[in-house]
């Protein structure tokens, strides 16, 4: 291996290794396990190919790549089959009641609002990082995030079944 290759491998390792777990959780929150594994591999390959384009804070950029790869994966017919299997599994293994209620509430929002909220709460991103992940301006991200929070709060408040208060969750990302 040449010195350049060696340096590139070290840089890739420094960028990608710490991102694997956050990316796994990002994907687990949005798709089934099989698709998540496939997309994670794709994201890492993109990261290797475009290593020179990775910004100083790589995670929001990698989330952006993952979103695009996930969208591609969702176009395939197999995705529908896997999703059906995943739904069947979830029906057999119900999670915490309030968790399901909040996820139901998210599903009632516009997809772009729900995604903003996921990035904020589950990935733990601030407005500037959300902007990097979505490819929008920080100002637009802040405004949209504020609106999305308000909409979710309204949905949760309006439906008595979803208005149960809970304790705080674990660490995101």
């Amino acid at each position: 291996m040449s010195e350049i290759d060696d340096a590139r491998r070290r840089r890739f390792d420094a960028v990608a290794r710490p991102a694997i777990e956050p990316l796994r959780r990002f994907l687990a929150r949005r798709t089934d396990a099989v698709t998540a594994d496939d997309v994670l591999s794709e994201v890492l390959m993109v990261c290797w190919r475009r290593l020179e384009a990775v910004p100083e804070q790589p995670l929001p950029w990698l989330y952006g790549v993952a979103r695009l790869q996930l969208r591609n994966a969702e176009r395939s017919s197999r995705r529908r089959e896997r999703l059906a299997a995943r739904v069947a599994e979830e029906l057999q293994q119900p999670g915490p009641p309030d968790g399901a209620a909040v996820r139901d509430a998210l599903a009632l929002l516009r997809p772009q609002d729900a995604e903003l909220l996921r990035l904020w709460a589950w990935e733990g991103l601030g407005p500037a990082e959300v902007a990097a992940a979505l490819g929008i301006s920080p100002n637009a991200a802040a405004i949209r995030l504020h609106r999305a929070k308000r909409r979710l709060a309204e949905v949760l408040r309006d439906d008595p079944d979803r208005s149960t208060a809970t304790t705080s969750g674990g660490t995101a990302r």
Partner: protein, 191 residues
């Protein structure tokens, strides 16, 4: 509800909150595969997995080409041997690398058992994931009793997933009666 309360409720609903981190070996394999796949496609096989598969494959025999069928799937028929159980080979580590192991095979397919007699199952390919098209697979075992893949005896009409190297069916759970879990491995390996 203020921002902190809203965030707390969302985090309590996080479907990934209970995820266990990947073992370091899996993380290293992911990084290695990403770099190798980009540098030289199809160099993604893990030597340790191939070593295990070859050890298992050597238990059984050779590939025999037969004449093609006049109708149905195109390509020649092949005869495969079901690998016997080699007590010196541990299957447990292979389970962790099923996808890599499957990618190391030279023939992989989903098929339907058409008939079973005299220790040979005839299997019609429904989908070939790896290797040239074949019209029929004949699966033999050296042991007594009916044809088997890692235990279960094959029956007419059953769907099976088979991966083979040099005419020997990969064992250790990489071939067998089609199940959701096994199909997932194949989808990941060849999808």
């Amino acid at each position: 509800m203020n921002d902190d309360q809203l965030q707390a409720r969302l985090r309590a609903a996080d479907p990934a909150s209970g995820m266990e981190p990947l073992p370091e070996m899996r993380r290293a394999a992911l990084l290695e595969r990403a770099a190798l796949a980009t540098a030289a496609p199809r160099r993604t096989r893990l030597p340790v997995v191939l070593g295990g598969l070859v050890a298992v494959a050597t238990v059984a025999g050779a590939i025999v080409l037969l004449l093609p069928r006049p109708d149905g799937p195109t390509g020649p028929a092949v005869t495969l041997r079901a690998a016997g159980t080699d007590p010196t080979v541990s299957c447990a580590p292979l389970a962790d690398f099923a996808v890599e192991g499957l990618r190391g095979s030279d023939l992989a397919l989903r098929g339907r058992v058409e008939s079973v007699s005299d220790g040979t199952a005839e299997i019609v390919p429904l989908e070939v994931y790896r290797g040239a098209a074949v019209s029929l697979v004949r699966l033999r075992t050296d042991a007594g009793g009916g044809p088997a893949l890692d235990g279960p005896v094959l029956r007419d009409g059953e769907q099976v997933l088979i991966a083979a190297t040099d005419g020997s069916v990969a064992a250790c759970g990489l071939s067998g009666v089609r199940s959701t879990e096994l199909q997932r491995y194949y989808d990941r390996a060849f999808g």
